[in-house]
Symmetry: C2
Subunit: 301 residues, 2 copies
């Protein structure tokens, strides 16, 4: 854990290029004509999708495939789908009726740039197009595709991301460690877990190894959230591209509000250490996974 | 076309029972505990999903399977998924930033009853759970499941329902026959088409027969929308459960505003007639499909 490993840029670049080239309009020429006028919707989708960032979720999915000894390119469509879904969740979370954020990565949020109606629909369409991408571009055969969509839909629905966002909005003020853990597990942990699960569907290892990958994903999700909460307290607005202290002002429980800053930093170090210990138990090239854990532990935005 | 055939109640009842029994909480006991607190979200989803109605889309899907000579029960999960998606679209369309409706089937809309944040999330979760349902409950094997999800996601994304809603919001005032046709094809036609397509994926007939089914679905979608526009002008608020004239007030193009009431009624009669003519070319028990066409032509809400 001395010098952090460099971020797996080769995977981020592949994801970025793939995302830029997704054609959201229908393929058949006659259907393309019918969709004339929806370019404004696609513009709103691409505005949020192509706003940059580390592409942490799809890179995690691809790095897991790599560690499993397979060509990461085989999971690109599903990895991109995970980023589409992450983007849709950010667009909806930023809405005035939800977290009411005006800035995201230093740019106006989708509803500020395109209107609230277009932002709701851009999120909805990104979700549909994510499913379409796995159905129409993901390789590995229908059983792999359904396995992937099963993981993605479970991680996204009531028992995942959307359920977690509901808890987050409704539990504000409930400052218990238990409710905090649950909100984060659902809101961010399950989708991060799904990135690893999709790779396990494509290239399944022995059950014991799969369990270690899952445990790693769990630690990574916890680490991600603890660092998020620390940054909300101590981060730079310039680097984060959004106001700090927003969660605290909304009375939301965070690792910092529940445990204090020093203990939150200790918890992050423990999760980081445990993530590395799990990777040591996994055969194969886990360097990129280790570098992702380092990145999450040390990120400034 | 003399006496209308009775609505296929046996199929509606099966759909209704299936929808009531969907368990939106995760299955694994430990995951169930984690999702503790999301019951309020499930309540909002079920409030809108179980508000009654004819279940036109899933019944259409099942009636098509029946006409194809297969057991309609085999498509129940996908048929239910189509109703979940239809419900999610109604919840989002009713939002203040969209059509801003307070009433739906005579009851307060989801955001009026549960708040705007819960309504956005209830719609999002219904979509995710629809995909999960097809992944985890639909029979016929992975190739059939992926074929179904491909149809559903195409009918829902940019080239379908969501794209159509975008056009509808942004084209207000654009009173051309061409833009009207395109909005409706995407907004309602594609999902109605997907009901028939899902049945064709499960029990594929000869290509020529499949094309006739598709043409029937197209006529049915047009008929549905023309009657919708006529009801918005002439319907009973009590029967519709919502204020009439809303589209006209928002300056939206409708079949009535573009063609006048008399011509709109003629167009509906033509579509209805053509739908029956197509069914006459299909071998098999198409009575329930014919009855659905009659129902759409004569519905009061």
């Amino acid at each position: 854990m001395s010098t952090p490993l460099p971020y797996p840029e080769h995977l981020r670049v592949r994801v970025e290029e793939y995302l830029r080239e997704i054609d959201f309009l229908p393929i058949a020429p006659n259907e393309r004509d019918e969709a004339d006028g929806t370019q404004g919707l696609v513009e709103a989708m691409r505005y949020s999708l192509l706003a940059g960032g580390k592409r942490f979720r799809p890179v995690l999915a691809l790095a897991t495939v790599e560690a499993l000894g397979e060509d990461p390119g085989r999971l690109l469509p599903a990895a991109a789908a995970l980023e589409l879904i992450h983007t849709y969740s950010l667009i909806h979370d930023d809405l005035p009726a939800m977290d009411d954020d005006d800035l995201r990565r230093g740019k106006p949020t989708c509803h500020k740039a395109f209107g609230e109606d277009a932002a709701i629909l851009a999120g909805d369409a990104l979700f549909a197009e994510a499913v379409r991408l796995v159905c129409e571009a993901q390789t590995g055969g229908p059983a792999v595709q359904i396995g992937i969509l099963s993981q993605i839909s479970r991680a996204t629905g009531v028992g995942g991301m959307v359920g977690g966002q509901f808890l987050d909005l409704r539990d504000a003020g409930l400052q218990s460690d238990e409710s905090l853990r649950r909100v984060h597990l659902l809101k961010t942990g399950r989708l991060i877990g799904a990135c690893v699960e999709c790779a396990l569907v494509l290239a399944p290892p022995a059950p014991k190894i799969a369990a270690t990958y899952r445990a790693f994903a769990h630690e990574l999700g916890l680490l991600f959230q603890i660092v998020d909460d620390i940054l909300d307290e101590t981060g730079s607005e310039d680097l984060l591209g959004k106001p700090i202290g927003a969660d605290a002002r909304m009375g939301k429980a965070t690792y910092v509000s529940v445990h204090g800053l020093a203990r939150a930093r200790d918890l992050a170090a423990e999760r980081h250490h445990h993530a590395h210990a799990l990777l040591d138990q996994i055969p194969g090239a886990t360097d990129d996974l280790a570098s992702l854990a380092d990145h999450v532990a040390q990120r400034q935005n």
